[in-house]
């Protein structure tokens, strides 16, 4: 739920009791005011009646009789105390045909040695009607406030929150491979300023860390090349020694193998880092079919060795704007993968269409999770001699060129498809 909706809702939830309580207080005040007024007018009436009674001496003639019999005057027992008492009572209202609230004044007084008991009633404004009116008025106010607050919120928030959404958008699209550092829109809101300051310093740190990390990998790989070159060349010279025993020769051979593996690994890591660093900027148009044919030719020994039958399904010319080295590596890694994990007498099918390169091969089902396929140093089959970087290099190259690579397993064939934009 949006922050704005949340604040609006909590605002209204807290406003509801406020309105109810204030409505109740309003009701009490108004009710009391009305009663006071009533009482004053009842007293005034009583005074007129008392005056009339004193001059005429006739109780019946002292007031105007009306339909509701609202005045009742009689001789009272002596024991009653003198004075005025007010009370609320329910009386049958003939006009409304129901019991209605009435205000009643009971007064006991003495005129010409006679003690009279006077009762005057007057129809009261119904309290429930009053409460109802107040509620309606408050409800209308509430609705009006709601509409105004919501629309102001919408309007203002779009302006107020725009730096926030801008920042959010920037963060969402944050990519470490971008050369440009994180830039945030200026804002006058204190909270967003703070947020931006924190985010800025955080991303700057991340960027520098990332850069130095990359730099480190690259430097380390580079620095390794020279000692590797020394080992390799020294081995070449060492081998020329005619006095070597068979035992030593065997040792040398094993060292050679390890050094080769190391230098291959180092080259691959260097390659990955260089792709990540975007250091392959020189692009030219690569004819995909020709490149594929060339790569197949380079692998002819391996293909023949496993008696793999290779089917080519491409007769259109597809040109990709790529770095030649990367294009070469992309196709040869995929082909190598399809041969390496294939059976004897297996099949490899290569298909090129206008926007897709697909290569499928027979072979044992994946021994690991499909999501792990493109991870570095993933080797599902330890028996196969590889360092586990081939496919992650493929993925990296695809990412670099915004190609989409999909792995699938259909008709007992492993299939990699690369879609160009």
């Amino acid at each position: 739920m949006k922050l704005l909706n949340k604040t609006t809702i909590s605002l209204f939830l807290s406003l509801i009791p406020v309105f109810i309580i204030s409505g109740f207080i309003l009701f009490l005040i108004i009710n009391q005011q009305i009663n006071e007024n009533e009482d004053e007018s009842l007293l005034a009436r009583k005074n007129i009646i008392v005056e009339n009674l004193r001059t005429s001496g006739d109780a019946k003639a002292s007031y105007l009789k009306d339909a509701d019999n609202d005045v009742d005057i009689r001789l009272a027992a002596i024991s009653l105390p003198f004075g005025n008492t007010f009370k609320d009572t329910m009386v049958y209202d003939s006009s409304e045909m129901e019991l209605a609230p009435f205000r009643q004044l009971k007064s006991v007084f003495k005129i010409n040695n006679n003690t009279y008991e006077l009762s005057i009633t007057h129809s009261n404004i119904k309290t429930d009607e009053l409460a109802e009116s107040i509620s309606i008025a408050l409800a209308i106010m509430f609705a009006l406030i709601l509409i105004v607050v919501v629309s102001i919120n919408r309007f203002v928030s779009r302006k107020l929150f725009s730096p926030f959404y801008f920042t959010l958008d920037k963060l969402r699209n944050l990519s470490f491979s971008d050369a440009e550092p994180f830039q945030i829109q200026n804002t006058t809101t204190k909270e967003f300023q703070d947020l931006n300051i924190v985010l800025n310093s955080m991303t700057n740190k991340l960027f520098t860390d990332y850069k130095s990390q990359k730099q480190f990998t690259e430097n380390a790989s580079h620095e390794l090349q020279t000692p590797l070159a020394i080992i390799k060349t020294r081995m070449d010279v060492l081998m020329q020694d005619v006095h070597l025993s068979e035992e030593s020769m065997e040792q040398i051979q094993e060292i050679e193998k390890a050094v080769n593996k190391l230098s291959h690994l180092n080259k691959s890591l260097l390659l990955l880092t260089k792709i990540e660093n975007g250091q392959f900027n020189d692009h030219s148009y690569i004819e995909l079919s020709a490149l594929t044919d060339k790569t197949i030719f380079a692998f002819e020994d391996s293909i023949r060795n496993k008696s793999i039958s290779l089917t080519k399904d491409f007769n259109i010319s597809v040109e990709l704007n790529m770095n030649p080295i990367l294009a070469d590596i992309l196709i040869s890694n995929l082909l190598q993968n399809s041969i390496r994990h294939n059976w004897e007498n297996g099949v490899v099918k290569i298909k090129i269409t206008e926007n897709c390169f697909s290569i499928s091969n027979s072979g044992n089902p994946l021994l690991g999770k499909e999501e792990m396929l493109f991870n570095r140093f993933t080797k599902f089959n330890p028996a196969v001699e590889s360092i586990g970087l081939g496919l992650s290099i493929v993925k990296q190259i695809c990412d670099y060129y915004n190609f989409k690579i999909i792995y699938g397993h259909t008709d007992a064939l492993h299939k990699f498809e690369i879609f160009f934009n």
Partner: protein, 225 residues
């Protein structure tokens, strides 16, 4: 044949000198830009081997300086950077080849011979060794004037052996030469065995001496003596 080697890593420099001297070259060395530039001004070299990253300057500067005084020298770049840009830049400056570190010495030797041949023969590229004759342009090999019908790999292999005669060449050096990084290691040793067997058979069938010898567990040698 005089060669100048410009390389700042002394251990590597030494071993290159040792190997190339054994091949009959007269080797001179320089470990930084100033020395290299100085030597180029004063002496004539048939070939210079130059590293890109050297103290006080770069290998590219050395090539530029060389081109001002001597257009004849063959130039081979050795670099830790496997970079197309550097390769292209080197070629534009007039270098003849580019070798990425780490490399095998027989590979370096083969490359030097190839560029020297190109410089010397100026197009008419025929390489003769005893009864073997190789037409480098047509990529065809002959034994006693009869064509050896070699596959591309066998042809490469023969040429590589001829460049490194009487040297023990490790299997991995040959594999790297023939397949570069393309094929996985385990299989390629078997492929190599097959290719060598076939080349040897073809040479023998066409009346050549049995030059190719297997060195137990390590590699092969092209024995001429």
């Amino acid at each position: 044949m005089k060669i100048l080697i410009v390389e700042d890593e002394r251990s590597l420099l030494e071993v290159i000198v040792k190997y190339l001297s054994g091949e009959g070259y007269i080797c001179d060395t320089a470990e930084d830009y100033h020395t290299a530039s100085d030597k180029i001004q004063h002496y004539n070299y048939d070939c210079i081997i130059v590293d890109i990253n050297i103290p006080n300057g770069s290998g590219f500067q050395v090539i530029e300086d060389l081109k001002k005084v001597n257009l004849e020298s063959a130039i081979l770049i050795i670099s830790a950077q496997h970079s197309l840009e550097d390769k292209i830049k080197g070629l534009q400056l007039g270098s003849d080849d580019y070798l990425t570190k780490p490399f095998h010495l027989p590979e370096l030797n083969a490359r030097i011979q190839a560029i020297l041949r190109r410089k010397r023969y100026d197009g008419s590229n025929i390489l003769v060794f005893n009864e073997i004759k190789i037409d480098l342009l047509a990529k065809r090999a002959f034994a006693n004037d009869k064509e050896l019908l070699l596959t591309l790999k066998e042809y490469d292999l023969l040429l590589y052996f001829l460049s490194n005669k009487n040297r023990i060449i490790s299997k991995s050096a040959i594999v790297e030469h023939l397949w570069e990084d393309n094929v996985d290691q385990a299989d390629t040793y078997n492929f190599l065995y097959t290719h060598i067997k076939n080349l040897r058979r073809k040479l023998l069938e066409n009346g050549c001496a049995d030059y190719i010898r297997t060195i137990y567990r390590m590699g092969y040698t092209f024995k001429t003596t």
